[in-house]
């Protein structure tokens, strides 16, 4: 570690952090059988290359004129070539050539590419502009062509071959290092190193470079594989090493001449290349996954409790007025270690036609999971384990996707938070709106187009028929959200869920969109569930408010009652934490986590 230049403390924390990182990396790698096997195979190939004189039955150039072009025999387990040279021995010695040339050329590529990328990424400005253009220009040439040119200029030989292949891959390293440097240089440790007066060279090579060892190792493994392929191709063409030096590509060159009479000769060297490149690529992939913390997605069989029978008549009578009723809903997520986490814990609520139910809670309280359970759009590994969700008396929990799909649009609609992301960037507004309209109604293209314009007008987008031909990026956030509402309304749903639909908008736009929603509620006689973390939004728009905290429903009250007389201490704390015009405080109030271990609230 070289961070000691910015003080013993910094060095200490960063080295412990690195050690912890390495341990985590090792844990992840251990759980990847493919990576482990690849490593073992690669180590085996390296061992064969190093121990070639011990392992090979013959010297690679030893000829056996009595047995030319023999098939597999006791003397020559993999046969012999036209000069009677032993194929197995050549194969073993050629591993040396392959690893040496590939290793050397990746080293050359790094020596050229890494400093170049560091300087371009760190200096930025004109250096970067010119350098990046240079890399773009290098893109105009196939890598192999650059190899040809270097060999044409310098002639053939081991060093030229290494240089030629190294130059081919140097730009890839430069590009990657530049990209990482661009993000690294904005980080705090670079600033602090800069402030302490560390020379740029030290910042680059001693501070930034150690942070990209991981990505460099990944690229290194992948390009070792590529370099072996390029070396084989050049040797196959006769541009690589002299014939006397055994190489897999050279062996294939001989095999190609005997394609008709000795077709099997192509197998050993080809498989040797394939396996070596394969394990290097798999190693690179595995390392990449381990570094990024990605793990394979595995779907687990759902083990939800059986869906309860239809509710007794007495309850159904009570629920008649409610279009949507949620009872004792439990939603759990599978953890990677096999255990489960409860995201929603026995949540019950109902919403009537024409009513706006506010679902209030901080991030992570389970608001969105509730919405997704109702829509049947829970992410993989998350599922509704117990309880029931009834829409017009129909049980939604455990409903097969095929059935759910029929309800979305016609009975259930939703508007999500991200105004731009809610719309496909490469389709026009009209295409998307018509898609939703035609999915829910029997309409011709022309009718759909006309209806789309009406709907767009209805949600307050002016000049609707012209704007149908525009793309989402030509819309402001508020306008894009109005379009998303129009899409949700295409099937005239009975329940419309707004999942933080106005949270990303500025205050003025927010209240305009909310007014629109209230207006639409009357027009379409919908029930609306407005999920928000914003008390103001809840107060302004909702009839009833439900408060969620850590997956538990703390209270459901009529909106005025909730704000005037919250029955739960968390709600009280939530209201107190909301800054208003009257708040004259130096610091904004916060909510301390008052939960005890078993999840009960402590009353003050």
């Amino acid at each position: 570690m070289t961070t000691s230049t910015i003080g013993p403390n910094a060095a200490d924390t960063s080295s412990t952090r690195q050690a912890a990182g390495l341990r985590q990396l090792w844990r992840r790698l251990r759980s990847q059988p493919v990576t482990l096997v690849s490593t073992l195979v690669l180590l085996g190939i390296v061992a064969v290359a190093v121990l070639a004189p011990l392992l090979a039955p013959y010297a690679p150039e030893a000829t056996d004129f009595d047995h030319p072009l023999s098939g597999p025999t006791a003397d020559h387990p993999l046969g012999s070539d036209e000069l009677g040279r032993d194929v197995l021995s050549q194969l073993i010695y050629a591993a040396r050539t392959a690893l040496l040339v590939a290793g050397g050329s990746v080293l050359v590529a790094m020596l050229i590419g890494v400093p170049l990328g560091l300087v371009l990424g760190y200096k930025g400005g004109w250096y970067d502009r010119i350098g990046s253009r240079g890399m773009d220009i290098a893109d105009a040439l196939p890598g192999l062509m650059i190899g040809f040119v270097v060999i044409a200029i310098l002639g053939r030989g081991m060093l030229v071959l290494i240089l030629a292949i190294g130059i081919i891959f140097s730009m890839n390293f430069a590009r990657m290092v530049r990209a990482v440097t661009l993000t690294e240089r904005k980080k705090l440790y670079v600033d602090s190193a800069h402030v302490t007066g560390l020379p740029t060279r030290d910042i680059l090579f001693r501070q930034i470079l150690p942070n990209m060892v991981g990505p460099l190792a990944v690229q290194g493994a992948v390009f070792l594989g590529n370099a072996i392929k390029v070396e084989a191709a050049l040797s196959f063409l006769g541009l690589g090493l002299p014939e006397s030096q055994p190489s897999w590509g050279g062996m294939l060159r001989v095999a190609a001449e005997h394609q008709a009479d000795r077709p099997w000769m192509a197998l050993p060297p080809g498989l040797a290349i394939l396996i070596t490149v394969l394990v290097l690529n798999l190693l690179g992939d595995g390392l990449n996954d381990a570094l990024s913390g990605r793990r394979p997605v595995r779907k687990r069989a759902r083990s939800a409790a059986p869906v309860p029978p239809p509710a007794p008549a007495a309850v159904a009578d009570d629920a008649r007025a409610a279009v949507l009723t949620v009872d004792d809903l439990v939603v759990v997520a599978d953890r990677p270690d096999g255990s489960t986490a409860r995201l929603l814990d026995r949540v019950s609520l109902q919403v009537r036609r024409g009513e706006v139910l506010g679902l209030l809670g901080e991030s992570g309280s389970g608001k969105s999971m509730l919405a997704k359970s109702i829509l049947g759009m829970l992410p993989p590994n998350v599922y509704a384990e117990e309880g029931s969700i009834r829409l017009d008396g129909q049980q939604l929990r455990g409903l097969p996707e095929r059935e759910f799909a029929k309800l979305r649009g016609r009975k259930l609609g939703v508007v999500f938070q991200n105004p731009q992301g809610n719309l496909s960037p490469v389709h026009t507004i009209g295409q998307q709106l018509c898609e939703a309209l035609r999915a829910n109604n029997e309409l011709s293209r022309k009718q759909a187009r006309a209806r789309a314009a009406e709907l767009l007008e209805l949600v307050g987008v002016d000049d609707a028929s012209r704007r149908l031909g525009q793309y989402p990026h030509q819309f402001s956030g508020g306008m894009a959200q109005r379009v998303a509402i129009a899409i949700a309304l295409a099937g005239e749903p009975e329940v419309l869920i707004l999942d933080e639909a106005t949270s990303a908008l500025d205050v003025t736009t927010q209240s305009q969109v909310l007014d629109l929603v209230l207006d639409l509620r009357e027009r379409f006689d919908m029930a609306i569930i407005n999920i928000t973390h914003d008390l103001g939004v809840a107060a302004e728009t909702c009839d009833t408010v439900a408060v969620l905290y850590h997956g538990e429903l703390l209270e459901v009250s009529e909106v005025n009652a909730l704000f005037d007389d919250p029955s739960h201490p968390y709600t009280e704390a939530l209201l107190a934490a909301h800054p208003t015009a009257e708040t004259e405080l130096d610091r904004l109030p916060t909510i301390a986590d008052k939960l005890t271990v078993d999840g009960d609230w402590i009353r003050k």
Binding site: A233, N281, N422, P425, E435
Partner: protein, 314 residues
């Protein structure tokens, strides 16, 4: 549209200019001089000087560059040292075979790559996905010329389904030309397809995780429509951007693979000129290849702008 074309041209023309200057300067990097390289180590200084004068290598660099560019603009790439043939003729004789192979490979690569990528990307984590992704890893690792060798051995030499010497000019025998192109296109297409498949899969997974997918699903649009009309189009944007890189790779691969299929392409010309240090030919092949790659990227960038409205200049 016109704006987009002009905008891209403003990038492409300087790029080609810089590539041309670099290609021209190549001869100055040769240790000794190109004449010395051509004549061999035993050449006397007098002989070298004589050849240099003969080839016009003794003129000052700027004057030579001027002449070189003037000739280049008239489509004249110079004269081969060894054969004395015009380089332009040598290249135009070989170009059809190389282009046929690369375009055939590119078609297979796109069909295979987008197909496999969409299939795997729409069901991440499933058995199908793991099988296909495993296949792409294999496709990237396999040495192309070896694959070509195996394919010709089995399907041409052994089964006799395809001709061993693959190349027939399309003007002589169009069907024969197509027939001969099958194995080379598959060879090139498998590698290119593996690269495109990996990118398509990743782009597909990303695109299906976008909120607009949920918006459409929640509005009742069928899963099939969402996947194939919205998911795929969004995924194709990054794939199209990388197709140019695959094209460049396939040209390189074709230079090696043509030997396996006995195609009279640019690779053979480049190979003999590289060994013989016949610089005008090497320069010519490099320049023509670069122009091809730049041209295909130009076309791709335009179509990228057509698919992705945000990439159009305002």
């Amino acid at each position: 549209m016109a704006k987009l074309v002009l905008y891209r041209l403003a990038f492409v023309l300087p790029q080609m200019l810089v590539v041309s200057v670099l290609v021209f300067s190549m001869t100055y990097l040769v240790p000794g001089s190109p004449a010395g390289a051509v004549l061999g180590p035993s050449a006397t200084p007098e002989a070298i000087a004589q050849v240099e004068a003969q080839l016009g290598l003794d003129a000052p660099p700027l004057q030579r560059m001027g002449e070189w560019f003037t000739a280049l603009l008239q489509g004249d790439l110079g004269t081969a040292y060894r054969s004395g043939m015009p380089v332009t003729d040598l290249i135009s004789q070989r170009l059809p075979a190389t282009l046929s192979m690369v375009v055939g490979g590119m078609l297979v690569a796109l069909l295979l790559g987008v197909g496999v990528g969409v299939l795997a990307g729409t069901r991440p984590g499933t058995k199908v996905d793991r099988l296909l992704t495993g296949g792409t890893v294999l496709g990237i690792a396999i040495p192309e010329f070896w694959l070509g060798l195996l394919l010709t051995t089995v399907f041409a030499a052994h089964l006799g389904w395809f001709p061993i010497v693959g190349w027939v000019p399309p003007s002589t025998d169009f069907l024969g030309w197509l027939h001969g192109l099958v194995l080379p296109s598959i060879t090139l297409g498998l590698t290119g397809g593996a690269i495109i498949a990996r990118q398509t899969r990743a782009a597909m997974v990303r695109s299906l995780a976008s909120p607009f997918i949920d918006t459409l699903a929640a509005a009742g649009v069928s899963r099939r429509t969402i996947l194939y009309r919205y998911g795929v189009k969004n995924a194709l944007v990054p794939v199209l951007a990388s197709a140019g890189v695959v094209f460049a790779i396939l040209i390189g691969v074709s230079f090696v693979a043509e030997k396996v299929f006995s195609f009279p392409g640019l690779g053979d010309l480049m190979l003999t000129s590289t060994i013989g240090q016949d610089f005008p030919v090497v320069q010519g092949v490099v320049l023509v290849t670069a122009a091809l790659v730049v041209a295909i990227n130009f076309v791709l960038d335009i179509s990228y702008g057509l698919i992705n409205p945000q990439a159009r200049p305002a």
